[in-house]
Protein backbone atom coordinates (compact mmCIF):
# COMPACT_ATOMS: atom_id res chain seq x y z
CA UNK A 1 0.00 0.00 0.00
CA UNK A 2 2.85 2.33 0.82
CA UNK A 3 4.06 2.23 -2.74
CA UNK A 4 1.78 5.18 -3.45
CA UNK A 5 2.56 8.55 -1.98
CA UNK A 6 -1.08 9.56 -2.10
CA UNK A 7 -3.91 7.11 -2.38
CA UNK A 8 -7.49 8.32 -2.63
CA UNK A 9 -10.04 5.53 -2.28
CA UNK A 10 -13.76 5.89 -2.96
CA UNK A 11 -13.66 9.41 -1.58
CA UNK A 12 -17.02 11.10 -1.10
CA UNK A 13 -17.69 14.52 0.35
CA UNK A 14 -21.16 15.92 0.90
CA UNK A 15 -22.11 19.41 1.98
CA UNK A 16 -25.66 18.77 3.06
CA UNK A 17 -27.46 17.77 -0.11
CA UNK A 18 -24.61 18.80 -2.36
CA UNK A 19 -22.26 16.01 -3.38
CA UNK A 20 -18.95 17.78 -3.86
CA UNK A 21 -16.98 14.60 -4.36
CA UNK A 22 -18.38 11.32 -5.67
CA UNK A 23 -16.35 8.14 -5.36
CA UNK A 24 -13.05 9.63 -6.37
CA UNK A 25 -10.19 7.19 -6.83
CA UNK A 26 -6.68 8.37 -7.53
CA UNK A 27 -3.22 6.99 -6.83
CA UNK A 28 -0.17 9.19 -7.03
CA UNK A 29 3.30 7.68 -7.02
CA UNK A 30 6.37 9.19 -5.41
CA UNK A 31 7.85 11.88 -7.64
CA UNK A 32 4.75 12.16 -9.77
CA UNK A 33 3.30 15.52 -10.76
CA UNK A 34 -0.44 15.38 -11.18
CA UNK A 35 -2.48 18.28 -12.48
CA UNK A 36 -6.16 18.41 -11.60
CA UNK A 37 -8.36 20.39 -13.96
CA UNK A 38 -12.09 20.93 -14.28
CA UNK A 39 -14.77 23.60 -14.19
CA UNK A 40 -15.33 25.56 -10.98
CA UNK A 41 -17.36 23.57 -8.50
CA UNK A 42 -16.16 20.30 -9.95
CA UNK A 43 -14.69 19.22 -6.61
CA UNK A 44 -11.01 19.52 -7.47
CA UNK A 45 -10.15 21.86 -4.59
CA UNK A 46 -12.30 19.80 -2.24
CA UNK A 47 -10.37 16.66 -3.16
CA UNK A 48 -7.06 18.45 -2.63
CA UNK A 49 -8.14 19.88 0.73
CA UNK A 50 -9.20 16.43 1.91
CA UNK A 51 -5.66 15.14 1.43
CA UNK A 52 -4.38 17.14 4.44
CA UNK A 53 -7.77 17.07 6.15
CA UNK A 54 -8.61 20.74 5.90
CA UNK A 55 -11.88 19.15 4.84
CA UNK A 56 -13.05 15.80 6.19
CA UNK A 57 -14.34 13.12 3.83
CA UNK A 58 -17.91 11.95 4.28
CA UNK A 59 -16.84 8.44 3.30
CA UNK A 60 -13.87 6.73 1.74
CA UNK A 61 -10.20 6.82 2.67
CA UNK A 62 -7.11 8.80 1.87
CA UNK A 63 -3.59 7.59 2.58
CA UNK A 64 -0.39 9.60 2.52
CA UNK A 65 2.63 7.32 2.44
CA UNK A 66 0.45 4.56 3.82
CA UNK A 67 -0.75 6.67 6.76
CA UNK A 68 -4.50 6.94 6.84
CA UNK A 69 -5.56 10.60 6.84
CA UNK A 70 -9.19 9.73 7.33
CA UNK A 71 -8.70 7.53 10.39
CA UNK A 72 -9.75 9.66 13.39
CA UNK A 73 -7.10 7.90 15.46
CA UNK A 74 -4.16 8.88 13.26
CA UNK A 75 -2.17 11.97 14.21
CA UNK A 76 -3.19 14.39 11.50
CA UNK A 77 -0.54 16.91 12.54
CA UNK A 78 2.25 14.44 11.82
CA UNK A 79 0.75 13.83 8.39
CA UNK A 80 0.37 17.57 7.76
CA UNK A 81 4.06 18.06 8.43
CA UNK A 82 4.72 15.74 5.49
CA UNK A 83 2.25 17.54 3.23
CA UNK A 84 3.02 21.10 2.17
CA UNK A 85 0.19 23.24 0.93
CA UNK A 86 0.10 26.36 -1.22
CA UNK A 87 -3.12 28.38 -1.34
CA UNK A 88 -4.75 30.48 -4.00
CA UNK A 89 -4.64 33.58 -1.79
CA UNK A 90 -1.14 32.85 -0.44
CA UNK A 91 -2.37 33.12 3.18
CA UNK A 92 0.96 34.44 4.37
CA UNK A 93 0.95 35.50 8.02
CA UNK A 94 0.55 39.21 7.54
CA UNK A 95 2.11 40.19 10.88
CA UNK A 96 5.38 38.39 10.20
CA UNK A 97 8.31 39.06 7.88
CA UNK A 98 8.92 36.82 4.90
CA UNK A 99 11.66 35.00 6.81
CA UNK A 100 9.57 34.56 9.94
CA UNK A 101 6.69 33.26 7.83
CA UNK A 102 8.98 30.46 6.76
CA UNK A 103 10.51 29.75 10.16
CA UNK A 104 7.41 29.97 12.38
CA UNK A 105 6.32 26.37 11.87
CA UNK A 106 9.90 25.14 12.23
CA UNK A 107 10.30 26.75 15.64
CA UNK A 108 6.79 25.99 16.92
CA UNK A 109 6.09 22.57 15.44
CA UNK A 110 9.52 21.04 15.02
CA UNK A 111 11.22 22.94 17.85
CA UNK A 112 14.10 23.81 15.55
CA UNK A 113 16.51 26.26 17.24
CA UNK A 114 16.03 29.80 15.95
CA UNK A 115 19.47 30.14 14.30
CA UNK A 116 19.05 26.88 12.46
CA UNK A 117 15.52 27.81 11.38
CA UNK A 118 16.76 31.18 10.12
CA UNK A 119 19.44 29.45 8.09
CA UNK A 120 16.89 27.12 6.51
CA UNK A 121 14.58 30.07 5.88
CA UNK A 122 17.29 32.12 4.19
CA UNK A 123 18.28 29.21 1.98
CA UNK A 124 14.68 28.71 0.91
CA UNK A 125 14.19 32.40 0.22
CA UNK A 126 17.26 32.29 -2.00
CA UNK A 127 15.89 29.22 -3.72
CA UNK A 128 12.69 31.04 -4.69
CA UNK A 129 14.73 34.07 -5.76
CA UNK A 130 13.83 36.35 -2.85
CA UNK A 131 17.02 36.41 -0.81
CA UNK A 132 16.78 40.20 -0.50
CA UNK A 133 13.24 40.17 0.87
CA UNK A 134 13.72 38.41 4.19
CA UNK A 135 12.77 41.47 6.21
CA UNK A 136 9.78 42.42 4.05
CA UNK A 137 6.25 41.99 5.30
CA UNK A 138 3.69 40.30 3.03
CA UNK A 139 1.98 43.65 2.47
CA UNK A 140 5.19 44.98 0.93
CA UNK A 141 5.50 42.14 -1.57
CA UNK A 142 3.82 41.64 -4.93
CA UNK A 143 1.42 38.76 -5.40
CA UNK A 144 4.00 36.69 -7.22
CA UNK A 145 6.59 37.30 -4.50
CA UNK A 146 4.07 36.42 -1.79
CA UNK A 147 3.25 33.14 -3.49
CA UNK A 148 6.94 32.30 -3.78
CA UNK A 149 7.36 32.97 -0.05
CA UNK A 150 4.32 30.74 0.56
CA UNK A 151 5.98 27.94 -1.42
CA UNK A 152 9.17 28.41 0.58
CA UNK A 153 7.13 28.33 3.79
CA UNK A 154 5.61 24.99 2.83
CA UNK A 155 9.01 23.60 1.80
CA UNK A 156 10.54 24.52 5.15
CA UNK A 157 8.84 21.55 6.79
CA UNK A 158 10.64 19.33 4.30
CA UNK A 159 7.43 17.74 3.01
CA UNK A 160 7.18 14.60 0.89
CA UNK A 161 4.18 15.94 -0.98
CA UNK A 162 3.20 19.41 -2.11
CA UNK A 163 -0.41 20.40 -2.71
CA UNK A 164 -1.11 23.47 -4.83
CA UNK A 165 -4.62 24.90 -4.76
CA UNK A 166 -4.91 27.18 -7.81
CA UNK A 167 -1.55 28.79 -7.03
CA UNK A 168 -1.65 31.27 -9.89
CA UNK A 169 -5.35 32.16 -10.10
CA UNK A 170 -5.06 35.22 -7.88
CA UNK A 171 -2.02 36.56 -9.71
CA UNK A 172 -1.66 39.21 -12.37
CA UNK A 173 -0.58 37.63 -15.67
CA UNK A 174 2.94 39.03 -15.55
CA UNK A 175 3.59 37.33 -12.21
CA UNK A 176 2.39 33.86 -13.13
CA UNK A 177 5.65 32.84 -14.74
CA UNK A 178 7.85 33.50 -11.71
CA UNK A 179 5.63 31.22 -9.61
CA UNK A 180 5.42 28.51 -12.26
CA UNK A 181 9.21 28.57 -12.65
CA UNK A 182 9.59 27.78 -8.97
CA UNK A 183 7.07 24.96 -9.32
CA UNK A 184 8.86 23.60 -12.40
CA UNK A 185 12.13 23.49 -10.47
CA UNK A 186 10.40 21.58 -7.70
CA UNK A 187 8.98 19.11 -10.19
CA UNK A 188 12.42 18.59 -11.72
CA UNK A 189 13.88 17.87 -8.30
CA UNK A 190 11.43 14.99 -7.97
CA UNK A 191 8.86 16.48 -5.59
CA UNK A 192 5.53 14.70 -5.55
CA UNK A 193 3.01 17.34 -6.51
CA UNK A 194 -0.75 17.53 -6.75
CA UNK A 195 -1.72 20.73 -8.49
CA UNK A 196 -5.17 22.18 -9.04
CA UNK A 197 -4.59 24.58 -11.90
CA UNK A 198 -5.43 25.32 -15.50
CA UNK A 199 -1.91 26.30 -16.48
CA UNK A 200 -1.49 24.32 -19.70
CA UNK A 201 2.11 25.37 -20.11
CA UNK A 202 2.99 23.95 -16.72
CA UNK A 203 0.99 20.80 -17.45
CA UNK A 204 2.85 20.15 -20.68
CA UNK A 205 6.25 20.95 -19.21
CA UNK A 206 6.00 19.14 -15.90
CA UNK A 207 2.86 17.06 -15.38
CA UNK A 208 3.08 13.30 -15.59
CA UNK A 209 -0.68 12.95 -15.54
CA UNK A 210 -3.73 15.15 -15.88
CA UNK A 211 -6.95 14.45 -14.02
CA UNK A 212 -10.16 15.95 -15.37
CA UNK A 213 -13.02 16.37 -12.90
CA UNK A 214 -16.60 17.44 -13.39
CA UNK A 215 -19.50 17.57 -10.92
CA UNK A 216 -17.51 15.87 -8.19
CA UNK A 217 -16.40 12.95 -10.33
CA UNK A 218 -13.07 12.04 -11.86
CA UNK A 219 -13.98 11.77 -15.53
CA UNK A 220 -10.66 11.09 -17.14
CA UNK A 221 -7.04 10.46 -16.17
CA UNK A 222 -4.16 10.41 -18.65
CA UNK A 223 -0.88 11.92 -19.73
CA UNK A 224 -1.09 15.60 -20.73
CA UNK A 225 -0.87 14.60 -24.40
CA UNK A 226 -3.67 12.08 -24.06
CA UNK A 227 -6.02 14.37 -22.18
CA UNK A 228 -5.31 17.60 -24.01
CA UNK A 229 -4.83 16.33 -27.55
CA UNK A 230 -7.19 13.39 -27.74
CA UNK A 231 -9.65 13.41 -24.82
CA UNK A 232 -11.79 10.31 -24.63
CA UNK A 233 -14.76 11.85 -22.89
CA UNK A 234 -17.15 14.40 -24.37
CA UNK A 235 -17.20 16.45 -21.17
CA UNK A 236 -13.40 16.74 -21.21
CA UNK A 237 -13.53 17.84 -24.82
CA UNK A 238 -16.18 20.48 -24.16
CA UNK A 239 -14.29 21.82 -21.14
CA UNK A 240 -10.98 22.03 -23.00
CA UNK A 241 -12.64 23.90 -25.84
CA UNK A 242 -13.80 26.46 -23.30
CA UNK A 243 -10.46 27.14 -21.68
CA UNK A 244 -8.15 26.92 -24.67
Amino acid sequence: MAEYRIQIKDACKNYGEVKALKNANLNIEAGEVVLVIGPSGSGKSTMLRCVNKLETLSSGDIFVDGDCVTDPKSDIRKIREEVGMVFQNFNLFSHLTALRNITLALTTVKNTPKEEADEIGKKLLARVGLADKEKSYPGQLSGGQQQRVAIARALAMNPRVMLFDEPTSALDPEMIKEVLDVMLDLAKEGMTMMVVSHEMGFAKAAADRVVFMDEGEIIEIGTPTEVFDSPKEVRTKTFLEHIL
Binding site: F87, F93, T108, G139
Partner: protein
Protein backbone atom coordinates in the same frame (compact mmCIF):
# COMPACT_ATOMS: atom_id res chain seq x y z
CA UNK B 1 -17.53 55.34 -7.83
CA UNK B 2 -20.35 53.32 -6.36
CA UNK B 3 -17.89 51.12 -4.63
CA UNK B 4 -16.40 53.03 -1.74
CA UNK B 5 -14.81 50.46 0.48
CA UNK B 6 -15.20 51.45 4.09
CA UNK B 7 -13.40 49.33 6.58
CA UNK B 8 -15.88 48.20 9.18
CA UNK B 9 -15.17 49.53 12.61
CA UNK B 10 -16.08 47.50 15.63
CA UNK B 11 -18.22 49.62 17.90
CA UNK B 12 -19.38 48.20 21.14
CA UNK B 13 -20.11 51.05 23.51
CA UNK B 14 -20.22 54.80 23.49
CA UNK B 15 -16.59 55.79 23.58
CA UNK B 16 -15.68 59.31 22.65
CA UNK B 17 -16.42 60.28 19.12
CA UNK B 18 -13.35 59.46 17.08
CA UNK B 19 -12.45 62.50 15.03
CA UNK B 20 -13.15 61.99 11.38
CA UNK B 21 -9.85 62.44 9.57
CA UNK B 22 -11.74 63.82 6.58
CA UNK B 23 -12.59 66.85 8.67
CA UNK B 24 -9.52 68.98 8.05
CA UNK B 25 -10.90 72.47 8.73
CA UNK B 26 -9.39 74.50 11.58
CA UNK B 27 -12.90 74.98 12.90
CA UNK B 28 -13.63 71.29 13.18
CA UNK B 29 -15.84 70.25 16.05
CA UNK B 30 -12.85 68.67 17.74
CA UNK B 31 -10.65 71.75 17.47
CA UNK B 32 -13.36 74.05 18.77
CA UNK B 33 -14.18 71.82 21.74
CA UNK B 34 -10.60 70.95 22.64
CA UNK B 35 -8.96 74.33 22.31
CA UNK B 36 -12.09 76.08 23.53
CA UNK B 37 -11.98 74.05 26.73
CA UNK B 38 -8.26 74.73 27.22
CA UNK B 39 -8.68 78.46 26.64
CA UNK B 40 -11.56 78.66 29.11
CA UNK B 41 -9.59 76.68 31.67
CA UNK B 42 -6.65 79.08 31.30
CA UNK B 43 -8.75 82.24 31.25
CA UNK B 44 -10.89 81.44 34.28
CA UNK B 45 -8.11 81.58 36.93
CA UNK B 46 -6.60 84.63 35.22
CA UNK B 47 -9.83 86.58 35.07
CA UNK B 48 -11.12 85.44 38.41
CA UNK B 49 -8.35 83.91 40.54
CA UNK B 50 -10.74 83.55 43.43
CA UNK B 51 -12.06 80.82 43.50
CA UNK B 52 -10.71 79.21 40.32
CA UNK B 53 -7.11 79.14 41.47
CA UNK B 54 -8.07 77.28 44.61
CA UNK B 55 -10.18 74.84 42.66
CA UNK B 56 -7.35 74.16 40.22
CA UNK B 57 -4.94 73.57 43.07
CA UNK B 58 -7.29 71.21 44.86
CA UNK B 59 -8.61 69.01 42.07
CA UNK B 60 -5.57 67.67 40.14
CA UNK B 61 -4.82 65.03 42.80
CA UNK B 62 -7.97 63.37 41.54
CA UNK B 63 -6.69 63.18 37.97
CA UNK B 64 -3.96 60.78 39.05
CA UNK B 65 -6.51 58.58 40.83
CA UNK B 66 -8.81 58.65 37.82
CA UNK B 67 -5.97 57.49 35.60
CA UNK B 68 -4.89 54.90 38.12
CA UNK B 69 -8.36 53.37 38.19
CA UNK B 70 -8.70 53.60 34.42
CA UNK B 71 -5.31 52.17 33.48
CA UNK B 72 -5.41 49.29 35.98
CA UNK B 73 -8.99 48.44 35.04
CA UNK B 74 -8.27 48.48 31.33
CA UNK B 75 -5.24 46.20 31.73
CA UNK B 76 -7.22 43.68 33.76
CA UNK B 77 -10.20 44.06 31.44
CA UNK B 78 -7.99 43.25 28.46
CA UNK B 79 -6.85 40.03 30.10
CA UNK B 80 -10.39 39.07 31.12
CA UNK B 81 -11.65 40.13 27.70
CA UNK B 82 -9.13 38.00 25.83
CA UNK B 83 -10.30 34.91 27.64
CA UNK B 84 -13.97 35.91 27.42
CA UNK B 85 -13.56 36.41 23.68
CA UNK B 86 -11.77 33.09 23.22
CA UNK B 87 -14.43 31.48 25.40
CA UNK B 88 -17.18 32.89 23.21
CA UNK B 89 -15.49 31.29 20.21
CA UNK B 90 -14.64 28.05 21.94
CA UNK B 91 -15.99 24.88 20.44
CA UNK B 92 -16.17 23.37 23.90
CA UNK B 93 -19.81 23.89 24.78
CA UNK B 94 -19.44 24.45 28.51
CA UNK B 95 -16.70 27.08 28.10
CA UNK B 96 -18.71 28.78 25.41
CA UNK B 97 -21.79 28.84 27.64
CA UNK B 98 -19.93 30.25 30.65
CA UNK B 99 -18.37 33.03 28.58
CA UNK B 100 -21.71 33.91 27.02
CA UNK B 101 -23.49 33.98 30.37
CA UNK B 102 -20.80 36.27 31.73
CA UNK B 103 -21.26 38.70 28.88
CA UNK B 104 -25.04 38.62 29.15
CA UNK B 105 -25.04 39.13 32.92
CA UNK B 106 -22.62 42.04 32.80
CA UNK B 107 -24.47 43.75 29.99
CA UNK B 108 -27.72 43.43 31.86
CA UNK B 109 -26.63 45.15 35.07
CA UNK B 110 -25.82 48.87 35.24
CA UNK B 111 -22.20 49.57 36.13
CA UNK B 112 -23.27 51.66 39.12
CA UNK B 113 -25.23 48.73 40.49
CA UNK B 114 -22.24 46.44 39.89
CA UNK B 115 -20.09 48.85 41.89
CA UNK B 116 -22.54 48.89 44.78
CA UNK B 117 -22.86 45.16 44.61
CA UNK B 118 -19.17 44.41 44.78
CA UNK B 119 -18.43 46.93 47.49
CA UNK B 120 -21.52 46.89 49.70
CA UNK B 121 -23.37 43.64 48.99
CA UNK B 122 -20.33 41.39 48.75
CA UNK B 123 -18.89 43.44 51.59
CA UNK B 124 -20.97 41.21 53.83
CA UNK B 125 -18.69 38.33 52.86
CA UNK B 126 -15.32 40.01 52.22
CA UNK B 127 -14.67 43.65 52.89
CA UNK B 128 -12.37 44.80 50.11
CA UNK B 129 -10.67 48.18 50.08
CA UNK B 130 -12.63 50.78 48.12
CA UNK B 131 -10.03 51.18 45.42
CA UNK B 132 -9.81 47.41 44.92
CA UNK B 133 -13.58 47.09 44.74
CA UNK B 134 -13.72 49.87 42.20
CA UNK B 135 -11.09 48.25 39.98
CA UNK B 136 -12.69 44.81 40.27
CA UNK B 137 -16.08 46.19 39.29
CA UNK B 138 -14.70 48.14 36.33
CA UNK B 139 -12.69 45.11 35.21
CA UNK B 140 -15.66 42.79 35.52
CA UNK B 141 -17.85 45.13 33.50
CA UNK B 142 -15.39 46.16 30.82
CA UNK B 143 -13.97 42.66 30.52
CA UNK B 144 -17.28 41.67 28.96
CA UNK B 145 -17.14 44.49 26.42
CA UNK B 146 -13.50 43.69 25.69
CA UNK B 147 -14.54 40.09 25.21
CA UNK B 148 -16.89 41.13 22.45
CA UNK B 149 -14.16 43.21 20.86
CA UNK B 150 -11.70 40.31 20.95
CA UNK B 151 -14.34 38.00 19.54
CA UNK B 152 -15.01 40.34 16.64
CA UNK B 153 -11.27 40.88 16.20
CA UNK B 154 -10.50 37.18 16.06
CA UNK B 155 -13.35 36.61 13.63
CA UNK B 156 -11.98 39.49 11.57
CA UNK B 157 -8.78 37.57 10.80
CA UNK B 158 -9.27 35.76 7.48
CA UNK B 159 -10.05 32.05 7.73
CA UNK B 160 -7.11 31.28 5.44
CA UNK B 161 -4.66 32.24 8.20
CA UNK B 162 -5.91 29.42 10.41
CA UNK B 163 -5.87 27.00 7.49
CA UNK B 164 -2.32 27.91 6.56
CA UNK B 165 -1.20 27.40 10.16
CA UNK B 166 -2.98 24.04 10.46
CA UNK B 167 -1.61 22.91 7.09
CA UNK B 168 1.90 23.48 8.46
CA UNK B 169 1.19 21.05 11.27
CA UNK B 170 0.40 23.50 14.07
CA UNK B 171 -2.19 22.69 16.70
CA UNK B 172 -5.28 24.88 16.90
CA UNK B 173 -3.98 26.58 20.03
CA UNK B 174 -0.54 27.20 18.50
CA UNK B 175 -2.32 28.74 15.52
CA UNK B 176 -4.50 30.91 17.74
CA UNK B 177 -1.64 32.23 19.88
CA UNK B 178 1.06 32.56 17.21
CA UNK B 179 -0.96 33.51 14.17
CA UNK B 180 -4.47 34.71 14.96
CA UNK B 181 -4.15 36.71 18.21
CA UNK B 182 -1.15 38.81 17.04
CA UNK B 183 -3.17 39.83 14.01
CA UNK B 184 -6.22 40.80 16.03
CA UNK B 185 -4.34 43.61 17.74
CA UNK B 186 -4.29 45.67 14.59
CA UNK B 187 -8.03 45.24 14.26
CA UNK B 188 -8.95 45.79 17.89
CA UNK B 189 -6.66 48.68 18.79
CA UNK B 190 -9.10 51.43 17.74
CA UNK B 191 -12.11 49.95 19.57
CA UNK B 192 -9.94 49.22 22.60
CA UNK B 193 -8.84 52.86 22.55
CA UNK B 194 -12.49 53.82 22.49
CA UNK B 195 -13.21 51.58 25.44
CA UNK B 196 -10.35 53.20 27.31
CA UNK B 197 -12.01 56.58 26.84
CA UNK B 198 -15.42 55.21 27.80
CA UNK B 199 -13.90 53.59 30.88
CA UNK B 200 -12.19 56.81 31.86
CA UNK B 201 -15.54 58.56 31.79
CA UNK B 202 -17.28 55.76 33.63
CA UNK B 203 -14.55 55.78 36.26
CA UNK B 204 -16.26 58.88 37.63
CA UNK B 205 -18.81 56.43 39.06
CA UNK B 206 -16.24 55.16 41.54
CA UNK B 207 -16.47 58.47 43.35
CA UNK B 208 -19.64 56.99 44.85
CA UNK B 209 -17.40 54.60 46.81
CA UNK B 210 -15.46 57.60 48.13
CA UNK B 211 -12.46 56.82 45.95
CA UNK B 212 -11.03 60.29 45.54
CA UNK B 213 -10.92 60.54 41.80
CA UNK B 214 -11.38 63.70 39.78
CA UNK B 215 -15.13 63.94 40.40
CA UNK B 216 -14.81 63.08 44.08
CA UNK B 217 -12.20 65.79 44.61
CA UNK B 218 -14.57 68.24 42.97
CA UNK B 219 -17.37 67.12 45.25
CA UNK B 220 -15.15 67.51 48.30
CA UNK B 221 -14.24 71.04 47.27
CA UNK B 222 -17.81 72.00 46.41
CA UNK B 223 -19.31 70.65 49.59
CA UNK B 224 -17.08 72.80 51.78
CA UNK B 225 -17.05 75.94 49.65
CA UNK B 226 -20.58 75.66 48.24
CA UNK B 227 -19.18 76.80 44.89
CA UNK B 228 -21.02 74.14 42.89
CA UNK B 229 -21.17 75.96 39.58
CA UNK B 230 -17.51 76.93 39.54
CA UNK B 231 -16.21 73.57 40.77
CA UNK B 232 -18.18 71.38 38.44
CA UNK B 233 -17.39 73.64 35.50
CA UNK B 234 -13.72 72.96 36.11
CA UNK B 235 -14.32 69.22 36.61
CA UNK B 236 -16.30 68.98 33.39
CA UNK B 237 -13.65 70.92 31.45
CA UNK B 238 -10.86 68.66 32.68
CA UNK B 239 -12.77 65.51 31.72
CA UNK B 240 -13.52 67.02 28.34
CA UNK B 241 -9.91 67.94 27.63
CA UNK B 242 -8.65 64.49 28.64
CA UNK B 243 -11.18 62.56 26.57
CA UNK B 244 -10.81 64.78 23.52
CA UNK B 245 -7.05 64.46 23.71
CA UNK B 246 -7.26 60.67 24.01
CA UNK B 247 -9.72 60.43 21.14
CA UNK B 248 -7.24 62.25 18.95
CA UNK B 249 -4.55 59.73 19.90
CA UNK B 250 -6.88 56.85 19.07
CA UNK B 251 -7.66 58.40 15.69
CA UNK B 252 -3.94 58.82 15.05
CA UNK B 253 -3.21 55.20 15.94
CA UNK B 254 -6.02 54.07 13.69
CA UNK B 255 -4.53 56.02 10.80
CA UNK B 256 -1.03 54.68 11.40
CA UNK B 257 -2.33 51.14 11.52
CA UNK B 258 -4.14 51.60 8.25
CA UNK B 259 -0.94 52.79 6.60
CA UNK B 260 1.19 50.02 8.08
CA UNK B 261 -1.43 47.38 7.58
CA UNK B 262 -1.22 44.83 4.86
CA UNK B 263 -2.25 45.41 1.23
Amino acid sequence: MAEIVKESRIEVTDGALIPDSAEKSIFSAWNISFFGAIIILILLPILSPDPYKDILLFIPDGIATTFQVTVLSIIFALIVGLFAGLGRLSRVKIINRIATIYVEVVRGIPLLVQLFYIYYALGKLVQLPRMTSAIIAMTFCYGAYMGEIFRAGIQGVPQGQMEAALALGMTRSQAIWKVIIPQTFRIILPPVGNEFIALLKDSSLVSILAVSDLLRRGREFASTSFLYFETYTVVALIYLIITLFLSRIVAYMEKRLKINGRV
